[in-house]
């Protein structure tokens, strides 16, 4: 295999990594919000249930959660949904793993939504009561106060922890390979095991480094844009 062929082969894998990254971020970040609000709910049972759920999801390895989502439907309910989706999308001898990707995405979205929710909660709870009250005594409604006064301060506080979490996410996508999803490390492993090629393993690192580098620059810009005020 030429360098270009190997590059393309690895790039195919990295596309899967990016897909998991993007979908998890786009779904998990908004889903974190209702979870955050539930964990701050005035109703004790809701608060309790949410906190226990978040505790479990954050306390158990993501790999275990992927296995559970992947195997529970078939082994517990006899519904082989993920494999059926795989087969459905398989054409000729081009084996599809779309079903496995969906299983991975579900595990990732739930897991990351819980992490994000804790960041949101921390951010919201860190805003002083005085900021709300200053808005209320001017006659503003709760919604107006949250939208126009609190939100931007929360965003400023959560950008650094969110940046960390987002950078962890791109590296976590490698976990998908535990159920044979062909992300980039899976591909590099194929090259090492079948073709006895060692350098693609190292080269794989370059993909991550470049992407993390780009993310760092973008997130740094966001952080800098909020530097004009201190709170």
């Amino acid at each position: 295999m030429s360098f270009l062929e190997i590059f393309a082969f690895l790039l195919d894998g990295f596309k899967i990594s990016l897909l998991i990254f993007a979908v998890t971020l786009l779904c998990g970040a908004p889903l974190g919000l209702p979870i955050a609000f539930c964990s701050m709910s005035r109703f004790k049972p809701i608060r309790f249930i949410t906190k226990v759920f978040v505790w479990i999801i954050r306390g158990v390895p993501l790999m275990l959660q992927i296995f559970i989502i992947y195997y529970v439907p078939s082994l517990l309910f006899g519904l082989d949904i993920w494999k059926r989706v795989n087969l459905y999308f398989t054409t000729g001898n081009q084996l599809s793993y779309a079903g496995s990707v969906i299983a991975v995405l579900i595990a990732f979205i739930i897991n990351y939504a819980c992490y994000f929710s804790e960041i949101y909660r921390g951010g919201i709870e860190s805003i002083s009561k005085g900021q709300y009250e200053a808005g209320y005594v001017l006659g503003l409604s709760k919604n107006q106060v949250f939208k126009n006064i609190v939100l931007k301060q929360v965003i400023k506080r959560i950008v650094p922890p969110m940046s960390n979490e987002i950078i962890t996410l791109i590296k976590d996508t490698a976990l998908a390979n535990c159920i044979m999803v062909g992300e980039i490390i899976y591909k590099a492993n194929v090259l090492a095991a079948d073709k006895a090629l060692i350098w693609p393993l190292f080269f794989t690192g370059v993909f991550y480094l470049v992407f993390v580098g780009l993310l760092t620059i973008v997130l740094g810009k966001v952080e800098k844009n909020l530097n004009y005020f201190r709170s």
Partner: protein, 252 residues
């Protein structure tokens, strides 16, 4: 007829009785100073007036309008509370400016959201208020770029922008370095000359003596003594008032 009529306000936090039986009234254009040692319930009283706390008993009326009757256990609707709040303004001890907005935006935010006029009217009014508190140089500055005294003056302008009938101050100079208290007290004094109705909780006895029309000394959740500055400062009737004034003199 008094502008503000507070009758028999009581407020408990759990088992602690913080306000026991507070009644007083205030005429339009009057300045009321509230003094008293820490923990006597001064802040809680101002918070009741601004509907940040709900009194357990008693009534608050402005003009001839009954705003709240604590004994009436049907909870007020959010909209009703917001409407009630518009009669009052509150300046906090620690300013609570909105950090992400500059001076002008801090002042125009609420009038804009509550549609108190056109954008130009609101801005013109804000600029006038900024001038009044002496901060015309700082229109575009963010709170983090201002001294405590400047921040407090912005906070006063922000409260004035909603044109409250009664403006309350909760120890407006307590968080300030001594050399900065003067500029804030001068602004409040200036408001008195414009006939604003104000309630000022303060530890600045000189200020209370010179600016207030009426002084309340609070102790343990009750009004221990009420009178003109002359009566309270020169000729206090209650032993507690005398002790308090003695102590506050000694600390200087």
């Amino acid at each position: 007829m008094a502008l503000l009529e507070v009758k028999n306000i009581q407020k408990n936090f759990g088992k602690t009785e913080v306000l026991k039986d507070i009644s007083f009234s205030l005429e339009k254009g009057e300045v009321l100073a509230i003094i008293g040692s820490s923990g006597s319930g001064k802040t809680t009283l101002l918070r009741c007036l601004n509907f940040l706390e709900t009194p357990d008993k008693g009534t608050i009326s402005v003009g001839d309008k009954l705003l709240i009757d604590g004994a009436d256990k049907t909870t007020l609707k959010d909209e009703q509370i917001r409407e009630n709040r518009l009669h009052f303004g509150l300046v906090f001890q620690n300013f609570n400016l909105f950090p992400q907005y500059n001076v002008l935006q801090n002042i125009t935010l609420a009038p804009t959201l509550l549609k108190k006029g056109t954008t130009e009217e609101i801005e013109q009014n804000a600029l006038r208020l900024i001038d009044q508190v002496g901060l015309s140089e700082k229109i575009k500055a963010y709170p983090c770029e201002l001294s405590g005294g400047q921040q407090q003056r912005v906070a006063i302008a922000r409260a004035l922008a909603m044109e409250p009938e009664i403006l309350c101050f909760d120890e407006p100079t307590s968080a300030l370095d001594p050399e900065l208290t003067g500029e804030v007290l001068r602004v409040i004094k200036g408001l008195k000359n414009e006939n604003s109705t104000m309630i000022v909780v303060t530890h600045e006895m000189e200020f209370a003596k010179n600016v207030a029309d009426k002084v309340i000394f609070m102790a343990d959740g009750i009004i221990e003594e009420i009178g003109t500055p002359e009566q309270i400062f020169e000729n206090p009737q209650s032993e507690k008032t005398r002790t308090f004034l003695q102590n506050s003199l000694e600390s200087f």
